[in-house]
């Protein structure tokens, strides 16, 4: 406790007075220092912008035919015989380099399946005798909703991995006793006409706590 230094003739109490005065002085000094922010604030940190929420998105970037049916979307694009004739399979046309010409009506389709244009033929997968189904090399006919099996008929090892859960995306529960595991289909990630996954913009990289100080290069650090 502080006490007012009281003048006293005895030498012991003089000592106490000096001690107390010194303490009061120290406390007043500290108080003044804190009030006046004598040490100043730490250097202001650079505010880091929050990451765009699109980078946190878990939904796949493509919808499969089955997804669209489930979401009750407009399926007009899949009504082949709205335009085509049922008995006459549409002919394929090629340019002078034997590359398929994508007809004007389907010009949103980018043909890029396989290297060296070896697999860019519509009827490798689509069924010419029934355009609303797929045909598999072994003669099976598949619905649009079963596209994953069609992919698997050629891409055996990847289909096997996908089936085991090692290829592709699974969301939900690893412990299927506690909840459902939702395995995504090939066409959720790959565009069947151009399956290579396109490049994308990466999310922002890490920011340092402080701006790194540029040290002059010494012979050891010069590369």
């Amino acid at each position: 406790m502080e006490q007012n230094p009281a003048p006293s003739p005895t030498p012991g109490s003089t000592k106490t007075v000096y001690c107390l005065s010194a303490l009061v002085f120290v406390f007043v000094g500290l108080a003044a220092a804190f009030m006046g922010d004598l040490w100043g604030h730490p250097p202001a940190r650079q505010e880091i912008a929050l990451v765009d929420k699109s980078f946190l998105e878990k939904t796949p970037w493509r919808k499969t035919y089955a997804d669209m049916v489930r979401a009750k979307e407009d399926m007009a694009d899949f009504d082949c015989y709205g335009c085509h004739d049922k008995k006459k399979p549409p002919p394929l046309r090629f340019d002078e380099n034997h590359i398929l010409i994508v007809p004007e009506e389907h010009k949103d389709i980018v043909m890029g399946h396989g290297t060296h244009n070896r697999n860019n033929l519509c009827y490798n997968c689509h069924n010419e005798s029934n355009l609303e189904t797929f045909q598999v090399r072994d003669g099976r006919e598949l619905k649009f909703a079963d596209s994953t099996q069609l992919c698997g008929s050629c891409h055996g090892p990847n289909y096997r991995d996908w089936d085991a859960g090692a290829h592709g995306r699974i969301n939900g529960y690893w412990n299927t006793k506690l909840g459902e595991a939702r395995k995504l289909d090939c066409a959720n990630c790959h565009n069947p006409h151009a399956p290579r996954i396109p490049t994308r913009v990466p999310a922002p990289g890490p920011h340092a706590l402080r701006t790194p100080v540029e040290h002059p290069h010494t012979p050891e650090t010069v590369h």
């Binding site: 009281a6 107390l20 880091i48 990466p202």
Partner: protein, 299 residues
């Protein structure tokens, strides 16, 4: 009142005020600890009643600070489960979505940034992490001639970070997750120095999380908000995985490069990968840490 007693009381008052003012920085102590937390028992010695009280305290603290009532739980390891992570280096495109999904799920500080995952951009033909760059700033990924290697806590079977902790604030659980009790950590950063994977992060400042980005689904050893001066690291999303769910980094991966599961279950994806894939690396295998995080190739 005579002159002497007036002077005496004035001086005493001034002295006391000065004392109070000089101790004023202690007011911020509340941000670091409080009586309840200070008197709290060690995690492994807590009875279920103690834990209920602690979870209540944390719920109150979070609600006061963020205005959101969280759902804080203390999830225990499941029997017959050992978690393993497998990452497909053939597939990873370096988009860093996992980094930010992790931050969002686990309530890491946004500014300054704390991130559990670092994605290294590495030149083809080398596995030397010294050649990796984690601050790459490309317009489009993947870049030609490079592959990407995300690194996070490897959940070692022989964890050096646990050995060096002077207060046993970090330990390995039976399902293989090395956890940190943020209320027990003294912030000495020995574990950060001991970790060969640069996986542990230190809260140098008070973590800043915007209210609208706080994840209210929390667990005691997992993603509850941390305080200044404690360590944190990846805990395989303990609040999700002990509930049977996949970790956040896995769910957000756009190419399915991340695989997670129970290695004790022969039917799980990770068991399949260990059996059939070229699982070639436990990172820094020669350190003898024996990670539960495996890197593999498809082809």
């Amino acid at each position: 009142m005579d002159r002497r007693s007036f002077l005496r009381s004035t001086a005493a008052f001034a002295g006391l005020s000065a004392l109070a003012a000089s101790l004023s920085p202690l007011r911020e102590l509340g941000d670091y600890t409080n009586v309840e937390q200070f008197m709290q028992k060690y995690y492994k010695e807590m009875t279920p009643d103690d834990m209920t009280k602690v979870l209540k305290r944390i719920t109150g603290e979070v609600e006061r600070q963020y205005g959101i009532r969280p759902h804080v739980r203390d999830l225990r390891p499941m029997d017959g489960v050992e978690f393993v992570y497998a990452l497909n280096l053939t597939r990873c495109i370096g988009c860093r979505k996992c980094v930010h999904a992790c931050v969002a799920e686990n309530n890491q500080s946004r500014s300054p940034e704390i991130q559990y995952i670092r994605v290294l951009k590495m030149p083809h033909g080398s596995m030397d992490v010294e050649k990796g760059n984690h601050t790459y700033d490309d317009k489009e990924v993947p870049d030609k001639g490079f592959f990407y290697m995300p690194i996070q806590c490897q959940q070692c079977k022989n964890p050096p970070c646990v050995k060096v902790c002077p207060v046993n604030a970090t330990w390995q659980e039976t399902d293989g997750i090395t956890v940190i009790d943020y209320d027990w950590c003294i912030g000495c950063r020995y574990c950060e120095a001991a970790c060969p994977y640069w996986a542990r992060r230190f809260n140098f400042t008070k973590p800043q999380i915007p209210k609208d980005r706080l994840n209210p689904e929390m667990s005691y050893l997992g993603n509850r908000p941390r305080k200044q001066g404690v360590m944190e690291k990846c805990h395989f999303c303990i609040q999700r995985t002990r509930d049977g769910k996949y970790p956040a980094c896995l769910e957000v991966c756009p190419v399915g490069a991340r695989k997670f599961g129970n290695i004790l279950d022969p039917e799980s994806e990770v068991s399949y990968i260990m059996r059939t894939k070229r699982v070639f690396i436990q990172l820094k295998e020669e350190m003898g840490t024996n990670p539960r995080f495996f890197y593999y190739f498809d082809k």
